[in-house]
């Protein structure tokens, strides 16, 4: 899969070792009511870097992404973007600053058409650019182009994931956050998603990927960050982490039975009607 980089229209210096700081998370704490999800997380993301965020369930990965994108306000700590403090900014402003999120479960807007989904993704762009960009991406993801005026709710899981990613790319973000992009996808489709991630990485985009399939995620990442019970327990270059079987054993292998960590979003967990396709 090669293409003329319609995914990002910004040039990055791609290097394996040195990155300029793009995003910095400083001692962030997040609580859901009485239950704390993040305990003083600090993380620096360099421009062009791809970080794999791995860890067992309830470790706080989604909470961390939500804090970065602004859906969660930390009770303590700061988030810096290109050197500027953005801790209090609402998500729509962060989008304008160049972040995008591919949310967990894709969260496709099922009543809108495929094209409209893309256009909403670029709602922060000026009107003229919006359509051009949508056309570009629909050319790149040809399945979306073919189904452009179909209701997005009718897409299959793999197509929906492509749409979710394309939608996030609409505003040409500097930083793309991906939350479980292969969740619920068949192995073939999951493999395609990873290929796409690799491609984005090659194109110089900065990525933070939360992924259950830790080994595969590490292959696609520059560095890795292992979370457990709301804390970063290990951090380092992806190859190093991948090579350390002990980490897999001790941090990922053991499911702590008695965690007092909230689920990423307690409300959504049970209270919500099934918005995602129940047929896949």
């Amino acid at each position: 899969m090669t293409f003329d980089n319609p995914l990002t229209d910004k040039a990055y210096q791609v290097g394996s070792e040195t990155f300029d700081e793009l995003l910095a998370v400083e001692s962030v704490e997040v609580s859901y009511g009485p239950i704390r999800a993040l305990y003083g997380i600090s993380l620096t993301v360099g421009s062009g870097e791809t970080i794999a965020l791995i860890g067992p369930n309830g470790a706080g990965k989604t909470s961390l992404l939500n804090t970065v994108i602004g859906m969660r306000r930390p009770s303590q700590g700061r988030v810096r973007w290109k050197g500027r403090d953005i801790t209090g900014l609402p998500p729509q402003q962060r989008i304008r600053l160049g972040m995008a999120l591919v949310p967990e479960h894709r969260r496709i807007l099922g009543t809108l058409t495929v094209e409209e989904n893309l256009l909403v993704g670029a709602i922060t762009l000026p009107r003229r650019l919006r359509q051009t960009r949508a056309d570009e991406l629909m050319e790149r993801f040809d399945i979306l182009g073919r189904k452009r005026s179909q209701r997005a709710g009718l897409l299959s899981g793999g197509e929906a994931q492509q749409l979710a990613i394309a939608r996030a790319l609409m505003a040409s973000p500097d930083l793309l956050l991906m939350d479980e992009p292969t969740l619920g996808l068949a192995p073939l489709v999951a493999a395609q998603v990873f290929e796409l991630i690799d491609e984005l990485r090659r194109s110089g985009m900065t990525l933070i990927v939360v992924e259950q399939n830790a080994r595969r995620a590490l292959e696609s990442a520059d560095s890795a960050c292992i979370l457990r019970t709301g804390q970063i327990v290990e951090q380092g270059p992806a190859e190093q982490i991948a090579a350390r079987d002990d980490i897999f054993g001790s941090f990922l292998g053991d499911t702590p039975v008695n965690r007092h960590i909230g689920s990423p979003d307690g409300r959504r967990q049970t209270g919500q009607a099934p918005t995602k396709s129940s047929h896949d």
Partner: protein
């Protein structure tokens, strides 16, 4: 951190045990109801006596009004609190009762003046007030049955607008009837009244009504039906899929609730000696609903507390807008309409700031100070305390021999099979399943794999009755389940989990599991025992009294598994049990599912994309693509199947 969690653990364990009696059965439950009634009744009476001690006859009337309103509000709580369906119609039912009562109880001579041409010879009969209350309540219940059937037919569920619309229609239809059927109602701004001086004597009837309301509401709350209704309130579809028939419990809740409201309405009419359409319309609806939501609609104590608070509030506003109060420069606020504004603001404030009311679902018997009393009750409550949590999961040492569940049956004839044949499902012309088939024996674990959109979840939905197939049939243990309602399929031996968690969020972990056992006919004691055991098996023992909404993802998933398994189904259908799990967690869930299957002795159908997991757990695998079964066989067979590789695994 460790310390904190341990102490919390102990607290939780204590709490489960402490709450034992209220969710348990037998004499302890009755004792709880008795205690709750006594406490609430006593509290209200004390407040009332204190208030009336210093004042004239009008204070007495206010207190009587409070008792009557409390009867109505507690009545409404029975339905609204337990089913979660917002009803505007209860006041309408009250109107039916109020009119029926007045027509029956007003003395003949007086009545002839007002409604001399009444049909059914209604103007020629007069019965004692108490009998009239009973008769009016009976009549109202008949109306409620009809409305309830309609509501149930509409598939009422929490937050369901259809059910609320139907109740609103009741309110307006009754109001319009009261206005227009003048022969029997006396019409708008008219109505039927008692001969002066024959209104309610004393307060004993109001006491009786209030006491009755408390007993019935608390009884229902702790009853099987009440608990199942609350499970449906939390998640209707999950409850149905696990064998709860919400219709039945909603109906029972509605009837009890309307019965109490009817009694309250009769007393209300009797107290003031008159009934007219406006009395049971929007204003009274606002008043009673405000009372209910201020205190907390999910608890009886909340309903009573709300009544007391709102009555106090309206009395204060009445004083403020009356001639006895001269606020000097602030008398611009002393205006008609103050009461309505305060009620409206109270409702707004609570909906915005504390939508669950002051008490949420806490009852007075949950007060820490009452712990000792509760312990007393536990003395004659035969509920086994939660056994010690095993800190690590150990399949080998699991005491299978002691299990109350049947031993795994040998996989064999049709009596032990789940069979699906030639099932086709279409949505808007889109074929989702076409001539699909599946056959699983009890005791076997069968995987269902395939690319996204292949129809795997639809297969589960067809089996559980959530989706109806356009053709084909399904048989469980030799019994056809075609066309069966969702909850009946669950009772005939199918239990499932969901792709997206669907827990009963506001119930505790223990209750989540317990209600399912109850739905399957277990006695309260055995439901408790089974639930405790299932929770232990799924390593949730130390979280037993935590609300499900506060669990982390992994625990939530385990709870879903426990909840499905406690019904000891013939077949357990699991939709992506490892979704969102890491490899290690997936490995653990393999052991867990195996252990459960072994204990329950059921067959398992499991959908998953994690091939390692499927390989580890499945005895056989079906692979679906574009709605059809493209392969069936052992894991090895499937893995080597070229079609499967092309369509799915790509290996």
């Amino acid at each position: 951190m460790k310390m904190a969690s341990r102490s919390r653990k102990q607290k939780h364990r204590g709490r489960v045990a402490r709450r034992g009696w209220i969710s348990g059965g037998g004499p302890s439950r009755l004792a709880g109801v008795f205690l709750g009634t006594a406490l609430l009744f006593g509290a209200v009476v004390l407040i009332g006596l204190g208030y009336t001690a210093g004042g004239g006859a009008s204070r007495e009337t206010l207190f009587t009004t409070l008792l009557i309103n409390a009867t109505v509000v507690v009545g409404m709580q029975v339905f609204i609190g337990n089913t979660g369906i917002l009803s505007f119609g209860h006041v309408g039912f009250g109107a039916v009762a109020g009119y029926a009562f007045a027509i029956l109880a007003v003395d003949v001579e007086w009545k002839r003046r007002l409604i001399g041409d009444a049909p059914f010879g209604a103007s020629d009969v007069s019965i004692p007030a108490e009998a009239a209350i009973a008769a009016a309540t009976g009549l109202t219940l008949v109306v409620a049955v009809i409305v309830g059937l309609g509501m149930v037919r509409s598939g009422a569920a929490t937050g369901d607008i259809a059910a609320t619309v139907i109740t609103l229609a009741v309110l307006f239809a009754v109001y319009e009837t009261a206005i227009n059927w003048t022969d029997i109602t006396g019409g708008n701004r008219g109505g039927i009244s008692f001969r002066p001086g024959t209104a309610m004597p004393g307060r004993s009837h109001a006491y009786a009504g209030f006491g009755l309301a408390l007993v019935i509401a608390l009884l229902y709350r702790s009853s099987r039906s009440g608990r199942l209704a609350r499970a449906s309130r939390e998640d209707d579809l999950a409850a149905r899929s696990l064998g709860v028939n919400p219709a039945r419990h909603q109906m029972l809740a509605l009837l009890l609730s309307v019965g109490l409201v009817a009694v309250g309405a009769c007393l209300r009419v009797w107290l003031s000696g008159t009934v007219s359409p406006e009395r049971f319309f929007i204003d009274y609806t606002l008043l009673t609903l405000t009372m209910l939501v201020v205190g907390g609609r999910n608890s009886v104590t909340g309903a009573v507390a709300g009544t007391v608070i709102v009555t106090g509030l309206t009395e204060v506003t009445r004083l403020l807008s009356g001639p006895d109060f001269n606020p000097g420069p602030f008398d611009f606020v002393i205006r008609p309409g103050l009461t309505d504004i305060c009620l409206g603001l109270a409702m707004l404030g609570f909906m915005i700031l504390r939508p669950n009311g002051l008490l949420h679902d806490r009852e007075i018997t949950d007060l820490p100070g009452l712990r000792r009393l509760n312990r007393l009750q536990r003395a004659f409550a035969p509920v086994s305390p939660i056994p010690k949590t095993s800190t690590s999961f150990d399949v080998e040492s699991a005491p299978i021999e002691d299990s109350p569940w049947p031993r795994p049956a040998p996989p064999a004839d049709a009596g032990h099979l789940l069979e699906v044949a030639a099932v086709t499902v279409e949505f808007d012309g889109l074929v989702v399943l076409s001539q699909a088939h599946l056959s699983v024996a009890k005791g076997r674990i069968c995987g269902l794999i395939g690319p996204n959109g292949a129809g795997k979840t639809t297969m589960l939905n067809v089996l559980t009755g959530i989706v109806s197939a356009s053709s084909g049939h399904a048989v469980v243990c030799g019994r056809s389940i075609n066309g069966m309602a969702i909850h009946r399929r669950a009772r005939s031996g199918i239990a499932r989990t969901f792709q997206n968690l669907r827990l009963f969020a506001d119930l505790t972990v223990l209750e989540n599991v317990e209600v399912v056992a109850l739905a399957h006919g277990a006695t309260p004691d055995s439901a408790r025992r089974q639930a405790v055991e299932m929770i232990e098996l799924n390593q949730l023992g130390d979280m037993a009294s935590r609300r499900a909404r506060h669990l982390d993802y992994g625990a939530s998933k385990r709870l879903e598994l426990a909840r499905a398994a406690v019904s000891h189904p013939q077949f357990l259908l699991l939709d992506e049990p490892t979704s969102g799990f890491s490899e290690a967690e997936s490995r653990l869930i393999v052991q867990q599912i195996r252990a459960i299957a072994a204990r329950v002795g059921c067959g398992v159908v499991v959908i998953d994309h994690d091939l390692a997991f499927i390989t580890a757990i499945c005895d056989e695998v079906y692979c679906l693509d574009q709605g059809s079964v493209i392969a069936h066989g052992s894991v090895a067979e499937i893995r080597s199947n070229p079609e499967v590789r092309a369509a799915y695994t790509g290996e």
